[in-house]
């Protein structure tokens, strides 16, 4: 039947607060995480780990373990000699990369270093037998702090490099010497960003299943980067890459900690090959604290040069990066991101940065939510406050004075970036209005007279998202998508991104629904299986939607063209338009729906000229640039003068992540990001003692935020679309974390400023604050 050409404009799905399509399986307990996988003949692995941070291994006696009930095999380092090293994907000139065998060889370098593995019939028996292995260690001196490791006479983490230096990096931008020569004021500060433990709720886990007859390894692993794991584990195990299938079932959180290739992934593949049966290893929480990468670990020395009127001229930054004992996948790259981001969102013409990456007898550091940007943001935002304090100007005013102006975009930074778009004053002004800034300052002044400690902290952050253009990344910075309209008209999206909580099964469906004019319910998003999905990069660096979503968008454009071509054949009119899920002849007004056209495209009775049957399109999208979200967080604190306890009275977050596909999901990302930022600001710290023992090795000692510790977050937005991608999105996964910590510390320092306090290092524990108050009084 002919329909009129009057288009039925379907309601747009992009921009709607849709509840997530991935949730039904998650709320009913029917989702499959790695530990939920059961297989016939499954064996379990337990790993014996070093209790010493530095020791020579004299001998290992596995006899008793081998004879223990249910034990199938025991392996130690020398059994795995032929397995390739755990890879470091980053390269820097002169980078020292220690050989990282999957089990320790003659030495151990950190507490938790895997020494032996037991394979048994069940997890209890595997653990029992692991306890029977006797290792004769000769402990040596350890060093657990990077500045101590740099001191002369410090124990060498790797004896071949007695200076403990893994790499150095230098970058100059503008004319830093001139900037400091012209400075009317210079402020300096040592600022640390403490070691953190990512603590995803699901620990890591691997199931390996080797099918000897066709030399295929199926590796189920909780990762953010299934394809990269496939490439690298295949190489480690000398298997053909196309015969390794990596499947990431449900992933219970990552935050960067699963953006890696770990020894255990190759070790399980090795065991499956050796034993010929599937094997499962699930990391315990204790192991997760000890042996999954840590984040941050910076000691930063800042110098900021300015004029008396508050104009910032230049910054010098020396980063001492605690890399830990080994280099994991991206370890050396993380502090270079801090350098890129060191000017924040200010017009700072000159910079000088030096990084020294330092080995310690600790777990390697690598990407943790924000990965280098929280450290940089914390530094610049603290320094701007310190400058404001020095010059006795308002911290909001000094920011407004130095912001990159709206007419300067695209803006080239002194660190070599091109900021895509920005309106930096907008979120600041909005946040100041929300908090009623002037009135609040008056209230603060009154409170001070009564001996009360109230602080107002501002952080106007910028960040790098959509990581990133390929030349800026170690393994390619594009993302892939295949979109298929099936013969029934249902739409399948296969994304190379690997969402694990970010909600792209919903947001990508929203994008497809709008482009094709179909229902969101007709779209299925598939990810995380290298045998099903075309090669992809993964989910990290706030790239999922900005790059992965854009790949989906472009694949959809190709498909739309093809759908129109098939529609034109069916309608016998070359002049057709596509809208509302239909292709319509402009001549006759007749139309064909997407399912009708899909059926015809696969039936292929009549093909359009130069057109293949079917409706499938694959697009690999290489972004031309990063995106640069920004925003303002304001934190109002009240400090208990007797206990040092910090109460957050208000938490305002005004974030600009460009266009929003699903504001409900964006809000969730902001809240979760802020929670991890508050964790760092107030409670969390991975503490190693001088012997390299992790003192915060359990949830009893490592204080992740719980519900009663969190303030209500008042989240608002401004919207400055990115010109980098057609969706205008920037990314929001890490913004909350990046914007948070300087706002909190600025607030507490502001509260305590009558005592002459200028800086406090995180975490701001009550003890630390109480000591300051006691000294001050």
């Amino acid at each position: 039947m002919a329909t009129t050409i009057v288009e039925v404009q379907k309601e747009k799905q992009v921009g709607k607060r849709l509840r997530r399509r991935e949730d039904p399986r998650l709320i009913t307990g029917t989702a499959t995480y790695v530990d939920d996988i059961q297989m016939e003949g499954m064996q379990y692995a337990a790993i014996l780990r070093s209790p010493h941070a530095a020791a020579k291994i004299r001998s290992i006696d596995t006899k008793q373990a081998e004879q223990a009930p249910g034990v199938i095999a025991v392996y130690i380092g020398k059994d795995t000699e032929k397995v390739g090293a755990v890879p470091c994907g980053s390269s820097l000139p002169g980078l020292r990369v220690p050989h990282h065998n999957i089990l320790a060889m003659n030495r151990v370098y950190f507490v938790g270093h895997p020494v032996a593995v037991v394979v048994a019939e069940n997890r209890y028996l595997a653990q029992d037998a692991a306890d029977l292995i006797e290792v004769d260690y000769a402990p040596t001196a350890a060093v657990a702090e990077p500045e101590k490791a740099l001191a002369s006479g410090a124990p060498a983490v790797h004896p071949e490099w007695p200076d403990n230096i893994s790499f150095t990096y230098h970058q100059d931008g503008g004319d830093i010497d001139k900037a400091f020569a012209q400075a009317e004021v210079v402020v300096k500060q040592r600022i640390t960003s403490q070691r953190l433990i990512p603590m995803a709720m699901e620990t890591r886990g691997v199931v390996a299943d080797f099918r000897a007859a066709d030399r295929q390894l199926h590796l189920y692993t909780s990762t953010q980067i299934p394809h990269l794991v496939r490439t690298l584990v295949a190489s480690m195990l000398s298997l053909d890459e196309n015969r390794v299938r990596v499947i990431t079932p449900e992933v219970g959180g990552g935050f960067g900690s699963k953006l890696n290739v770990y020894a255990e992934e190759a070790l399980m593949g090795f065991i499956a090959q050796k034993t010929g049966k599937p094997v499962k290893w699930i990391e315990s929480r204790r192991e997760n604290f000890l042996c999954t990468i840590h984040g941050r670990g910076h000691v930063d020395y800042y110098e900021l040069a300015a004029k008396r009127d508050g104009t910032i001229l230049g910054i010098k930054l020396k980063i001492i990066q605690d890399v830990g004992s080994y280099l994991q996948l991206l370890t050396p790259a993380i502090p270079t991101l801090s350098v890129l981001m060191m000017p924040g969102i200010y017009n700072i013409p000159s910079i000088r940065a030096d990084i020294v990456g330092v080995f310690t007898n600790c777990m390697p550091t690598d990407a943790y939510r924000g990965a280098g940007r929280p450290e940089a943001t914390h530094g610049i935002e603290r320094m701007v406050d310190i400058l404001a304090d020095e010059l006795h100007v308002d911290p909001a005013e000094i920011r407004l004075k130095n912001f990159v102006a709206n007419d300067k975009f695209p803006y080239a930074t002194a660190t070599g970036l091109i900021y895509d778009s920005g309106n930096y004053a907008a979120p600041l002004k909005k946040a100041l209005d929300m908090v009623d800034y002037k009135k609040l300052r008056q209230e603060q002044a009154e409170a001070r007279k009564q001996g009360k400690w109230i602080g107002i902290g501002i952080s106007t952050y910028g960040e790098i998202c959509a990581i990133g253009p390929s030349p800026a990344t170690p393994a390619g910075g594009w993302e892939s998508a295949t979109v298929k309209v099936e013969p029934s008209g249902k739409v399948t999206i296969m994304t190379g991104a690997c969402p694990h909580g970010q909600g792209e099964e919903t947001t990508f469906a929203q994008i497809a629904a709008d482009e094709l004019g179909v229902s969101v319910d007709d779209v299925l998003v598939v990810r995380g299986d290298t045998a099903v999905v075309q090669y992809g990069i993964g989910t990290f660096g706030s790239r999922g939607t900005a790059i992965g979503g854009t790949a989906v968008y472009y694949a959809l454009q190709d498909l739309k063209e093809k759908i129109k071509k098939f529609g034109a054949v069916l309608l016998e009119d070359e002049d057709v338009a596509m809208a509302g899920g239909k292709v319509t002849s402009k001549k006759t007004g007749q139309s064909k729906s997407v399912p009708e056209i899909a059926a015809a495209a696969y039936r292929a009775m009549k093909l359009p000229p130069n057109t293949e049957p079917g409706l499938v399109s694959t697009h690999f999208w290489e972004p031309p640039n990063f995106t640069f979200p920004f925003g303002t967080h304001i934190v109002v604190t009240e400090i208990d003068g007797e206990t040092g306890d910090i109460k957050i009275r208000r938490y305002i977050a005004v974030d600009d992540c460009g266009n929003q596909i699903n504001p409900l999901i964006v809000a969730g990302q902001v809240h979760g990001g802020v929670a991890q930022g508050l964790g760092q600001s107030l409670w969390e710290q991975a503490v190693y003692d001088d012997n390299g023992q992790l003192l915060t090795g359990e949830l009893t000692d490592y204080a992740v935020p719980r519900a009663h510790m969190m303030p209500w977050i008042e989240a608002e937005h401004t919207t400055t679309p990115s010109p980098v991608n057609p969706l205008g999105v920037k990314g929001v996964g890490e913004a909350g974390t990046i914007g948070c910590s300087p706002a909190v510390v600025n607030s507490v320092v502001d509260a305590l400023s009558p005592l002459g306090v200028r800086h406090i290092d995180m975490p701001l524990t009550p003890e630390k604050i109480w000591k300051i108050l006691s000294k001050g009084a």
Partner: protein
């Protein structure tokens, strides 16, 4: 040892090792993998199930302690195909991201509403203190409990 217990309305009898934890009994013997192991030390709450009307962290009790008990896990909530109002509320309010803590979080949340049918935000937050979520910052979970309470009051 032999135990007999009723899980999600169905009676099970099994010969088990005395040291087997309840969570491993549920997950590996009964194949009810909805409840998760997040810490093995009762600190995270991902393994929370209902044992005789009480929210219990199943990683820190032995399965033999549940002998004779009535256990409800996340799989028991939507048994008839219709979501429990708490599941619905978590879905509507985006009270989950990666979903790993969610089964335990929902079981704990149901108990909070049983104790406080019209809870204040403080009661909700204190009630959730034993369950860690690393994704959401808890705000949407708090909203979910408020929504579930409001729906129950209707």
């Amino acid at each position: 040892m032999k135990i007999t217990c009723k899980v999600n309305g169905k009676t099970y009898s099994n010969e088990i090792e005395p040291r087997l934890l309840l969570i491993h009994y549920l997950r590996e013997v009964l194949n009810l993998t909805g409840s998760h192991v997040g810490c093995e030390t009762s600190l995270c709450g991902a393994c929370t199930v209902d044992v005789d009307g009480k929210a219990v962290k199943s990683c820190t009790i032995f399965a033999v302690q549940a002998d004779g008990a009535k256990v409800t896990t996340i799989e028991g909530l939507a048994a008839g195909g219709k979501l429990d109002p708490m599941q619905e509320a978590f879905w509507n309010e985006h009270g989950l991201q990666c979903g790993f803590c969610t089964p335990g979080m929902i079981m704990a949340s149901k108990q909070i509403l049983e104790r406080h049918p019209n809870p204040t935000e403080e009661e909700i937050r204190n009630g959730l203190a034993g369950n860690i979520c690393r994704c959401t910052g808890y705000q949407h979970i708090v909203n979910a409990l408020k929504a579930a309470a409001a729906a129950a009051a209707k």
